[in-house]
């Protein structure tokens, strides 16, 4: 074991962590918004919207993310219309192509998770909100969404973790995130095992922290699912 080399690799790879996190955070955040829209389409009961969302989810869940990245980065540039469009300055940039591909992909998975969460909201609680005179939008914002998020969070945390790992695919279109930098070191040193072990450990550490953070959020959001708090002696005495 060459501790010095491992350490050197580690220090170099650390400098790429911000880019990995940035790719993951941006695509997950944008993807969540898109996913919410898709989930609402799926549940809208308006068939063109429903079928659009179904088709979208079918395509983006059914094809490999790597293929999607290639198609967006190399494929779209083949069309002259795209090259001349206002979006070309974004679509020629590998960074934004990676973000777009990751976002579109996570949106497909997240839409189904969110749909499950929305469907699990008890109907009676929605009815109680309507009976109070809340507008449809207020019912959604104040009652349905908070309940759906609580329901969906455990499954959604898996999705976030898989997105952190999926950012490594961006290296294929020249993005120098953790895996991209690792590949470059390997091409210079031919020491694949050591470099990938360090890179793997970095992803492991990121996801470990991420899991803890999500678990904490989950804990904070779900006091109603836990045992009632132990009552102080005085209050307990008043209980019937």
């Amino acid at each position: 074991m060459d501790i010095a080399f491992l350490y050197e690799t580690f220090v170099t790879l650390i400098s790429a962590i911000p880019l990995t996190l940035q790719l993951a955070a941006t695509s997950v955040a944008l993807g969540a918004v898109l996913a919410l829209g898709l989930a609402v389409c799926r549940l809208s009961g308006i068939w063109p919207l429903d079928w659009f969302a179904r088709g979208y989810i079918f395509i983006f869940r059914g094809t490999p993310l790597l293929v999607q990245i290639f198609l967006i980065y190399y494929g779209l540039g083949q069309f002259r219309e795209v090259r001349r469009s206002a979006f070309w300055f974004i679509l020629r940039d590998p960074y934004w192509c990676a973000i777009i591909a990751l976002m579109l992909c996570t949106a497909a998975y997240s839409a189904e998770i969110i749909r499950g969460g929305l469907q699990a909201v008890p109907h009676g609680q929605i009815e109680a909100a309507r009976a109070c005179g809340m507008s449809r939008f207020m019912v959604f914002r104040r009652i349905i969404l908070p309940l759906a998020i609580r329901q969906a969070l455990p499954a959604y945390s898996n999705e976030i973790i898989s997105m952190v790992k999926a950012t490594s695919l961006a290296s294929i279109i020249t993005i120098m995130e953790v895996t991209g930098v690792a590949a470059k070191i390997i091409s210079e040193t031919y020491r694949a095992i050591e470099v990938f072990v360090v890179a793997g450990a970095i992803y492991l550490a990121i996801n470990f922290i991420l899991t803890r953070v999500v678990a904490l959020i989950e804990y904070r959001l779900s006091p109603h699912l836990r045992q009632a708090p132990a009552l102080p002696a005085v209050a307990a005495g008043e209980m019937r």
Binding site: P122, A128, C132, M134, M138, L147, A228
Partner: protein, 260 residues
Amino acid sequence: MNTMPDIATTPAIEIRGLRKSFGPTEVLKGIDLTANEGEVISILGSSGSGKSTMLRCINMLETPDAGAIVVAGEKIAMKTDGKGKATIVDRRQVQRIRSELGMVFQSFNLWSHKTVIENIIEAPIHVQNRSKAEAIAEAEVLLEKVGIADKRNHYPAHLSGGQQQRAAIARALAMRPKVMLFDEPTSALDPELVGEVLRVMRSLADEGRTMLVVTHEMGFARDVSNRVIFLHQGAIEEQGHPGEMFTNAQSERFRKFISG
């Protein structure tokens, strides 16, 4: 035989010619009912007779097919669309009228992610735009009144059914409703918890609140209400003062119904 309170005011609720079908089955076949201010009306009838549907049409949780709903003199605007289906004209009018009617459900329907006090202050703050301090102060008075002040910061899941229903009543009262609508408020409760909820409802009746109560509690119907309505297959079969109805009902079906 019908003892109406002789106060000459606009009725709290007027239902005229109310009809409602689900698919081919007509569930309400033309209901006329006037609830005067301060009246407590018990609505009885066997399961499936349309009691819930009638109550839910009053605050438009179900859209009636025909007929008129008038709340405190204000008619809910309805129109028939191109396909001949009745629809609401002004969503905001309905929302405002809903906020003036307190609804209590059989299954409580408290918002599970909010504590008892948060449940109570939610609509006063967000629908009625009252200040948080005012809403909390009023909620605390209501919690005291329904006897669960010590459960202020508990989540619904940590309460008994009776406590949950009392919290739901407090939530409805927090909107300062003109009329309270109860849909079998004690039917989901263990027998030993029914009394605590009925006590709260009785105290509301004693305050002179206008209440429409769908119930199977014959004791409540007989002792607390001013009027009993007996619904059979979507029509009012008989109505009258409970004293009359329970001793001297015209309807054979109602006599059978109360004898069990």
